[in-house]
Amino acid sequence: MKRPPIYGMLAEFDSASVLVAAAHHTHEAGYQKIDAFSPFSVEGLAEAIGFHKNNVPLVVLIGGLIGGLSGYLMQYWISAVSYPLNVGGKPYHSWPAFIVVTFEMTILFAALAAVFGMLALNGLPMPYHPVFNAPRFAFATKDRFFLIVFSSDPKYDSVQTRRFLESLTPKSISEVPS
């Protein structure tokens, strides 16, 4: 597949507040395909770029349900069906004794789902990404804040978009090659 030569237009800001405001303006100006980068989780930034809901909780719920159900059914099947063993006259299906392992399996699967679900939804691991080509992007993991308008946005225009981003008073603007 041939990529478009330009990935997007990246603007650099020096504070979290300015970035959130800039992201709001850009979203309100009608740009749909935008993203922001920050060295820590900035409150309200995801909402500002129009990203309101994520599916991590659903993945965790499914993981937990699978873990709990399989944990309980495994114990039931082993203790009552496959290998019934009389221990002190206790019933084969002695459910109170199965609660601990059911609980641990619920937590284990939910935690695995949280971590791997989050990574998968984020598309990680992804060692190469065009945005790393931007010269000052290494500061996104230190003390700088970035906003990008992707070239795939219908409103993207290298002159108009640059002019719009300049109106947000960024520290620098660069076009990111893909």
Binding site: F37, E43, V56, V60, S79, Y83, E104, I107, P127, H129
Partner: protein, 456 residues
């Protein structure tokens, strides 16, 4: 946020000293890993503990050849040091999860500067703990029999046994602690990738960071996942020592068969864990000049947690004593008498001194902010908590129902070598950790700065 307004009131020491910026916090913590030259004392310390780890491997190797007969265990005391140390180490691990998960849910943002190395401490402590039941099994190479897998023998684990619950609890705990620690490291690994000058360091940190770039979408999912993990780890950590206590409480041995065990074990675990956190934090903040990040506030708060959990533990001892008398059960009453007057009575009085009497000095506010004093009290608590497990395991088994089956337990040098060896392994791992990974969570420290607040 509450934390910042509280600082403005100026009553307590701040969580982070004023004057730092995103850049200077990042530089200060990452420099410890990236640019600070490795000192001779680091090599000496690591080398010494590495040698102690080798002693552990020797002790385990000899055990594999000769069997558990080289230890002091015998009937009636079949559990001995292995189980004492297992419970002690698992308990120490609990503070890390408490700091990283429970304090996160309670919005105690002072945790941000100690959670990373407390989580590392948890991992290494649980790893040390896991060794003991494994090598205590007699035939450790068959350890996989504990897990439910379709074997050609056609047999399965017995799920009504607390010992099988323990396998699930401890392995889940280790896995979740590892996940929690690693997911917390990802943004900081990206910082190290972008900061490091060394090509190999960049490649290795780059692989571990998995291409993290701090996208707002990523952060949103990340924070959700982190919060959910904390919510999952909270009941988990409470369950782990509860299940460990079931190993005892479900048995009928006098001194074990009591319902106070689960809460009292969990409180004791957090008690000893915070003592270990302080014993590590106090030298680390001094050596690496991190007093601005790990402030007197952290020391004082940890001391308060120790004081509170210590009182719960004291309540446990009182209830144990009371039930020994009130139950009217002659075997329970005798267990109490045996603790107070039996051959191991000295250790019981030591336990009361270390766990209840001496830690009461923490009521004195001045002492709670004195690193040297706190370090000493923490050491005393760690000894006390080890003695508690010794009393529970050994003194209960030593004299049970029939005096024809009474006996004594004397640890051998192999017991001591294994125990001291795990301490060496734990500390060697901590040395490596502070050298190659950021020991304070950089991105969570950034959120503590006033400039992190988004103004409308």
């Amino acid at each position: 946020m509450d934390e910042r307004s509280e600082q403005a009131g100026g009553k307590q020491a701040p969580v982070i000293e004023p004057g730092y910026t995103f850049g200077s916090v990042t530089d200060k913590i990452s420099a410890i890993v990236l640019t600070r030259p490795t000192s001779t004392s680091w090599f000496i310390g690591f080398g010494a503990f590495f040698l102690v780890t080798m002693m552990l491997l020797y002790a385990i190797g000899y055990l594999l050849v000769r069997g558990t007969g080289i230890w002091g265990i015998n009937i009636p005391i079949g559990w001995g040091f292995a189980i004492v140390n297992f419970v002690w180490w698992i308990g120490i691990g609990h503070a890390g999860t408490l700091i990283s998960a429970i304090l996160l849910l309670l919005r105690q943002s002072w945790r941000n500067s100690i959670n990373r190395f407390a989580e590392a401490m948890t991992l290494f402590a649980v790893a040390s703990a896991g060794i003991f039941p494994l090598i205590h099994m007699g035939r450790p190479w068959l350890a996989y029999w504990m897990f439910p897998y379709p074997s050609t023998m056609g047999i399965w684990p017995q799920f009504r046994s607390p010992l099988v619950w323990d396998v699930f609890a401890v392995s889940t705990y280790f896995t979740v602690s590892l996940l929690f620690w690693f997911i917390g490291l990802i943004p900081d690994l990206a910082t190290l990738r972008d900061r490091s000058e060394n090509r190999w360091a960049r490649i290795i940190y780059g692989i571990l960071a998995m291409g993290w770039r701090g996208s707002a979408r990523h952060w949103f999912r990340y924070e959700t996942a982190y919060l959910l993990l904390a919510g999952l780890a909270t009941p988990l950590v409470l369950s782990v020592h509860t299940v460990v206590s079931f190993d005892f409480a479900v048995g009928i041995v006098p001194g074990w068969h009591t319902t106070i065990f689960p809460p009292y074990f969990v409180a004791g675990a957090i008690y000893s864990g915070f003592a270990m956190v302080l014993m590590l934090a106090i030298p680390i903040r001094k050596i690496y000049a991190l007093e601005d990040f790990i402030t007197e506030r952290h020391l004082e708060n940890s001391a308060k947690v120790m004081l509170a959990t210590g009182l719960i533990v004291a309540y446990g001892y009182i209830i144990e004593g009371f039930m020994g008398w009130y139950s009217g059960n002659r075997y329970d009453a005798f267990t109490l008498w045996n603790r107070l007057h039996g051959p191991y009575a000295f250790f019981y009085y030591m336990l009361i001194a270390c766990n209840i009497v001496i830690p009461q000095v923490l009521w004195i506010r001045k002492l709670r902010t004195k690193p040297v004093a706190l370090f000493a009290v923490s050491g005393v608590i760690l000894v006390g908590m080890w003695l508690e497990r010794f009393i529970i395991v050994v003194v209960s088994l030593q004299r049970d129902f029939l005096n024809s089956s009474w006996g004594m337990y004397y640890p051998t040098r192999w017991d001591w070598m294994t125990y001291v060896g795990t301490i060496g392994m734990f500390l060697a791992a901590m040395f490596l950790f502070v050298r190659i990974l950021p020991m304070i969570s950089i991105f969570e420290m950034r959120t503590l700065l006033p400039e992190a607040e988004v103004k409308e």
